[in-house]
C-alpha cells in the first residue's frame, strides 16, 4: 500500500483575522482554495476526484450544508463531497479522513478545505455561549461554565501535582505571539513579556486574557493525492521535495473533566492519538525524530500538557522544558512557528488544516526565513476538541 501514501500537492490559506468583514464564510473558502490551486499549479479543479468540507459550527457560520454550497461555488459539481466535523479537531480529522479515502482507493486526489467565521460577527458573550454548546450542555453549560474555566481547572490540577507555575505557561503566550510576528498572515502578533501575561485581566484563574487564544475568521486548504496523480496533474510536484502524509492517530476522552478523576492533569486521548501516529510513521523517540510541530495552544498551558502527552518530555516536565527554550525557535524542537492559535488565530474548521499547511511549508523550506526551521524533514500537528475529548495527531515528512 506504500504507493498510496498521500502526498501534498498544494496548500492554500487566507490571512486569519478577527473580522474578515469583506467575506462570507464561502468567500473565505474560495480564497483559500484558489490559493491552493495556484500553489499546485493547476488551471482548474476538473481533475480533482473528491472534495472534503471541514467546518464545525452551523451557529457561527449561519449556514448548514456548506459542503453542497462550496462544491457549487467552486465548480466542483458533480464531484463527490463529504463533510467532516470533530469540534476543535475538525480540520485535523478532515485530513485524517482524506488519508483514509486516498489509501482505500476510493479516490486518487482529494481537495480538503476548511473555513469558519468565529470572529467579531457576534459578541464575545455569544461566542462563549456557542462554544459552550460543545460542552455537556445540561451539566456544564447551564451552570455557567466556559471552556476557559474547564481548561483552567485542569491546569490548576497540573500546577498542584507537578509544581507547574504561571510563569511557565506565560512563556508560551509570549513566544507564540512573538513567532506570529514572522508570519504575515497571522492575526495578532504581539511583543509582550511574561509580566504582561501575568498582569493581564483574569478570565478564569489561573488563566488571564493573554493566556487565551484568538477568535478568528479564515480558511485553509490542502490538496492531497497519490504520487501517480500528483506527477500526472501538478506541474509543481516535481519542482519541490515530496512531502508525504505518513502518520495519523486519533484518540478520545470523556466530555467532562470530572469523569477523568483521578487523572485530571493531562490528555489521555492525545496520548493515544500520538502513539498510533508514531507507530504508523515509525517514530520511537519523538523529541529527536520530529523537527517541527504545530501544537494546539488553545490556552497557553495546553501546550505544556501537549508536549508531555506527545511524549516530547515526561509528564510533569513540560513547564521546565518550555522555559528552558526546548520548544523555542532555535531550540531542540521548535513548536508553533506560525504563531499557533495564540498568535496566528483559530477559525475552527480551518485550524487543523492551517497547522498542516505550516508544517508542510516548513518541510518545503518555503516560509519566511525568520521563522524557517533549518533542515526540517519531519513535522507533526496536534489538534483537539473540547478539553481533549477528540484528539488528532498527523505527521508529514520529506521523502527526497
Amino acid at each position: 500500500m506504500a504507493e498510496r501514501v498521500p502526498v501534498v500537492v498544494g496548500v492554500g490559506m487566507t490571512p486569519f483575522a478577527a473580522n474578515r468583514e469583506d467575506c462570507t464564510v464561502r468567500d473565505l473558502a474560495v480564497e483559500a482554495v484558489l490559493d491552493c490551486v495556484r500553489d499546485a499549479g493547476l488551471e482548474t479543479l476538473a481533475a480533482v476526484q473528491h472534495g472534503l468540507t471541514s467546518y464545525e459550527s452551523d451557529h457561527f457560520n449561519r449556514q448548514m450544508t456548506l459542503g453542497a454550497i462550496l462544491h457549487d461555488t467552486l465548480g466542483l459539481n458533480p464531484t463527490p463531497n463529504v463533510r467532516v466535523e470533530g469540534g476543535g479537531a475538525t480540520g485535523a480529522l478532515a485530513l485524517r479522513t482524506a488519508w483514509a479515502y486516498l489509501q482505500s482507493g476510493l479516490c486518487d486526489s482529494m481537495l480538503v478545505y476548511g473555513c469558519e467565521t468565529n470572529g467579531k460577527r457576534i459578541s464575545a458573550q455569544t461566542a462563549n455561549q456557542l462554544f459552550a454548546l460543545s460542552a455537556d450542555v445540561d451539566w456544564e453549560m447551564m451552570v455557567g461554565g466556559t471552556y476557559t474555566a474547564f481548561y483552567a481547572a485542569m491546569m490548576r490540577a497540573h500546577m498542584e501535582k507537578y509544581g507547574t507555575q504561571r510563569e511557565h505557561f506565560a512563556h508560551v503566550a509570549v513566544r507564540n505571539r512573538r513567532n506570529a510576528a514572522n508570519n504575515p498572515i497571522a492575526q495578532k502578533p504581539m511583543d509582550i513579556t511574561v509580566a504582561d501575561v501575568l498582569n493581564a485581566r483574569p478570565i478564569a484563574e489561573p488563566y488571564t486574557l493573554l493566556d487565551c487564544s484568538l477568535l478568528s475568521d479564515g480558511a485553509a486548504a490542502m490538496l492531497l493525492a497519490t504520487r501517480e496523480w500528483a506527477a500526472q496533474h501538478s506541474p509543481r510536484y516535481a519542482e519541490r521535495p515530496v512531502v508525504a502524509f505518513t502518520g495519523t492517530g486519533c484518540g478520545t476522552d470523556t466530555m467532562r473533566l470530572g469523569d477523568r478523576y483521578p487523572h485530571l492533569t493531562n490528555f489521555a486521548g492525545k496520548r493515544a492519538a500520538a502513539q498510533q501516529a508514531y507507530r504508523m510513521a515509525g517514530i520511537s523517540d519523538p523529541l529527536a525524530e520530529i523537527d517541527v510541530a504545530e501544537l494546539y495552544d488553545s490556552y497557553s498551558g495546553v501546550e505544556i500538557q501537549a508536549v508531555e502527552d506527545l511524549g516530547f518530555v515526561g509528564e510533569g516536565e513540560g513547564g521546565a522544558a518550555v522555559v528552558a527554550g526546548t520548544f523555542d525557535h532555535g531550540g531542540q524542537l521548535p513548536v508553533n512557528p506560525s504563531g499557533g492559535l495564540l498568535g496566528r488565530g483559530a477559525p475552527v474548521g480551518a485550524t487543523g488544516i492551517a497547522q498542516a499547511v505550516e508544517v508542510v511549508q516548513q518541510l518545503w523550506g518555503a516560509v519566511n526565513p525568520a521563522r524557517q526551521v533549518a533542515d526540517a524533514r519531519r513535522g507533526l500537528t496536534d489538534t483537539h476538541a473540547g478539553i481533549g475529548s477528540i484528539c488528532v495527531v498527523n505527521i508529514f515528512e520529506r521523502q527526497d
Binding site: 474578515r20 447551564m142 455557567g144 461554565g145 476557559t148 481547572a153 478570565i203 478564569a204 470530572g258
Partner: protein, 176 residues
C-alpha cells in the same frame, strides 16, 4: 443611492485589507454591506433519562446512579455504565464531599437568568462527593481567597425560584 431604507443595515463601506496590496484580484468586490441578523430558537427540551436528578433536587435530595455490576457511582448520573454497558439504578448520596480542582471565573456563559444574576467572580468547582466515583461540576459559593483543593464542601439547595433546575443546588464550604 435609492431612497428606500433597510432597517437592518448597520453600515456600507469599502474594505481594503492591508494584505491585498496594490494588485488586488478582488478589487471589484470591495464594497461591503453589513446587516443585523437575528436568529432565536426556543426548545421543548427534555432532560430524558437524567430527569429524576433534577426532580429530586427540588426535594432537596442529591442522587447519582450506581452500576450493580462494577459498583461505580456516577455523579452526574449516567443511565448506562460506560465500563460495563449495564443499565444503572438511582442511588441517594449525602451531598458532602471534597473539592478536587476549581477555576475562579471572571466571565461566565450567561445562558440563563440564574447565571445572569450572579456577580463575578464565581468558582467552578469539581467535587468528589462522598460515595461517588466521579467529580461533579458546579459553582462553589465562597470567597476565592478562602478556597483550596481538598477542602470539605457540601450541597446547598436553593430557597428561591430558579430558571434552570441545575441551579436548585450549588456547593458551599462544609459547616463542620
Amino acid at each position: 443611492m435609492s431612497s428606500a431604507s433597510v432597517e437592518s443595515v448597520i453600515e456600507q463601506k469599502t474594505v481594503q485589507p492591508a494584505w491585498a496590496g496594490t494588485d488586488d484580484p478582488w478589487e471589484a468586490f470591495r464594497q461591503v454591506e453589513i446587516i443585523t441578523l437575528e436568529l432565536t430558537q426556543q426548545y421543548r427540551h427534555s432532560l430524558g433519562k437524567y430527569s429524576r436528578f433534577f426532580i429530586e433536587l427540588a426535594n432537596k435530595q442529591f442522587y447519582g446512579t450506581r452500576c450493580s455490576n462494577c459498583e461505580r457511582v456516577y455523579t452526574p448520573p449516567r443511565p448506562l455504565c460506560p465500563d460495563c454497558l449495564h443499565i444503572t439504578g438511582w442511588t441517594r448520596l449525602p451531598g458532602t464531599g471534597a473539592l478536587m480542582t476549581y477555576a475562579v471565573m471572571h466571565f461566565a456563559s450567561e445562558v440563563n437568568d440564574d447565571v445572569r444574576r450572579m456577580s463575578m467572580p464565581i468558582i467552578l468547582a469539581y467535587v468528589l462527593l462522598d460515595g461517588s466515583s466521579t467529580l461533579f461540576p458546579h459553582l462553589l459559593k465562597a470567597d476565592p481567597q478562602a478556597v483550596h483543593t481538598g477542602m470539605r464542601v457540601q450541597v446547598a439547595y436553593a430557597d428561591a425560584p430558579v430558571q434552570h433546575p441545575i441551579h436548585l443546588m450549588h456547593f458551599v464550604a462544609s459547616e463542620a
